[in-house]
């Protein structure tokens, strides 16, 4: 897929495939092209170049078929502030041509699933951030979609609300739903997604399961030493070890095989020294850099 906005190319040829039933995550810094990709997938933005099939159908011509079988939770809050919680679901069901009886039963089911029954008649404006987000999710599921697309579903939520959302998504996985997710939270990606694609500057960088990516790009453990003792950098260079020099701090990616970890621990751990298991965040920062994007 390629996406151009005038002279700017936001997506410079990204390809991927999500099998039915998989939870797939798109990671990348701000401006990496995630939202552009998502918007092309649900037919909000036309592709500038390339081909995109959802359920085996072309989004350019079969968009109505595709959109009737997916649920989308956009980054912006697009709930209708003029309508109550219940009306938001009812009106949305109308866009899918759902029958009144089906709409009512599905609304009851979803309000219960997302613990919103007591807010049924509330105005959307009066909901807390967590409740509004749950309502957006409930609305995205109104048509019983086969694929759910979530663009940063938990941004701005407190830990309790985030865990509740994850819990609900986990329950949906059991029912065979496919998920396409973008997020900035590495713990979210690692715990929800079976496979990840990291994108930056409109290009795909790496793809794989969270565990594969960590092992391949961050090693087993991370050793952070600050400040760098004399001879450390020379030692790392000589060993050909992977590290980032952050000035006041050295971050070393230690693989399982080299015995590097042991040497560092005995020879260089003098002052401030942390050894911890490598995580997805290390992979992310290592591949996309530490500079600010905006």
């Amino acid at each position: 897929m390629v996406k151009r906005y005038g002279a700017i190319t936001a997506v410079k040829g990204v390809s991927f495939c999500v099998p039915r039933g998989e939870f797939f995550g798109l990671l990348g810094p701000n401006g990496a092209g995630k939202t552009s990709l998502i918007r092309m997938i649900y037919g909000f933005s036309p592709l500038s170049e390339g081909e995109l099939l959802v359920f085996g159908k072309d989004i350019g011509t079969q968009w109505r078929y595709i959109r009737s079988r997916i649920g989308v939770c956009q980054q912006d809050n697009t709930l209708d502030p003029d309508l109550s919680v219940e009306q938001n679901l009812h009106v949305f069901a109308g866009y899918f041509n759902m029958k009144p009886a089906e709409t009512r039963s599905r609304t009851d089911e979803l309000l219960e699933f997302f613990a919103l029954q007591h807010k049924r008649r509330s105005k959307v404006m009066d909901l807390s951030g967590g409740m509004a987000r749950r309502l957006v999710l409930a609305r995205a599921l109104i048509n019983n979609p086969e694929l759910l697309i979530l663009d940063e579903p938990t941004t701005g939520l407190d830990p309790q609300s985030r865990h509740q959302v994850w819990d609900r998504l986990g329950a949906l996985r059991e029912r065979g739903l496919s998920l396409l997710l973008t997020t900035h939270y590495m713990d979210e990606a690692a715990s929800l997604c079976e496979r990840l694609l990291i994108v930056d500057h409109g290009k795909a960088l790496v793809e794989g399961s969270p565990q594969e990516l960590i092992e391949e790009h961050a090693g087993r453990n991370i050793i952070e030493i600050s400040p760098a003792p004399d001879g450390l950098l020379a030692f790392l260079e000589a060993k050909g070890a992977a590290y980032d020099d952050l000035g006041d701090r050295i971050v070393i990616y230690a693989g399982a095989e080299s015995g590097l970890e042991e040497t560092l621990r005995t020879r260089f751990c003098i002052d401030q020294c942390t050894i911890r298991p490598a995580g997805l965040e290390d992979v992310f920062l290592r591949l996309t850099g530490r500079g600010l994007r905006e």
């Binding site: 906005y5 918007r39 649900y42 909000f44 933005s45 036309p46 968009w63 109505r64 078929y65 959109r67 009737s68 997916i70 649920g71 989308v72 956009q74 912006d76 809050n77 697009t78 709930l79 209708d80 502030p81 003029d82 309508l83 009306q87 009106v91 949305f92 109308g94 866009y95 899918f96 041509n97 995205a140 048509n143």
Partner: protein, 262 residues
């Protein structure tokens, strides 16, 4: 982005339904204006101006000024209602509430959303006209049963002004800039489209300019139905409004697609 007419189906009614659900929550406020506005004008012109303005000759009829004015009040309400709805109303839904973005994640096309917005605006014009007819008919300003056709004229006229408003909504950067088309087009039309004075004593260039505005034709048709006589040919005015709604409607769809499809 070009407009795809094959993407317009009856599903636009679902979006229209949304607007109607919202309107029902606010109906008391919405209906108060068309109910009271003609009353205010008739009081002001009937009581206040009566001694200053003599009778008006229109289409061979000798009318009091209020009799001449009353149908034009309905016509201008048609203009204000639909133009406001597709400018301020649609802009708020599009830009601040992101309602259109939400709908675009469902099997509804952007074309259907825009058509629904315009039809809703025209229906508001129709409702306002119907209420005003209900107020003005018992007072003897509007003839029965021809007045029953006024809401139809209101719908057609409403579509023209709704489309005009939607063109601006697709083009302006910020909501404050709607003052510009209102100041440049809507207010002059309100004043000079045979609303407040007959065109018979106006020089030819003035009559031509006035004829070119859609409001003139809505005023003429409304007046024709209210008084049983009109200065111009009703079929010409109907044709004008029909063509204008199609041409402006197409431009409105283009304008909004250019703005929203990224």
């Amino acid at each position: 982005m070009s407009v795809r007419y094959r993407d317009i189906s009856w599903r636009f009614l679902k979006v229209l339904h949304r607007d109607v659900v919202v309107a029902k929550r606010l109906w008391k406020v919405n209906f108060l204006v068309p109910l009271l506005e003609p009353a205010f004008y008739i009081l002001a012109f009937g009581l206040g101006f009566r001694t200053l303005i003599g009778d008006v000759d229109y289409a061979g009829l000798k009318l009091t000024y209020v009799e001449f004015l009353a149908p034009a009040l309905i016509a201008s309400a048609v203009m204000w209602n639909s133009f406001f709805e597709t400018t301020f109303g649609s802009f708020v839904r599009m830009y601040y509430q992101k309602t259109f973005d939400g709908i675009l994640a469902t099997p509804v096309s952007l074309e259907e959303i825009i058509v629904a917005e315009m039809v809703y605006a025209a229906l508001r014009s129709t409702a306002a006209a119907a209420i005003m007819v209900a107020v003005l008919t018992p007072l003897g300003f509007v003839a029965f049963p021809a007045c029953l056709l006024i809401p139809l004229v209101a719908f057609l006229g409403g579509m023209v002004f709704a489309a005009a408003g939607m063109i601006f909504t697709g083009a302006i950067p910020t909501i404050d800039m709607f003052n510009l088309p209102i100041f440049l087009f809507i207010t002059p039309m309100f004043l000079f489209s045979s609303t407040f004075f007959p065109m018979t004593d106006v020089p030819v260039w003035g009559r031509v300019l006035s004829w070119a505005t859609p409001l003139y034709h809505v005023v003429e048709l409304t007046r024709g139905l209210a008084l049983g006589a009109m200065d111009s040919d009703p079929w010409v005015s109907l044709a004008y409004l029909l063509i204008a709604s199609i041409v402006l409607g197409d431009l409105a769809l283009r304008s909004m697609k250019r703005r929203l499809v990224k």
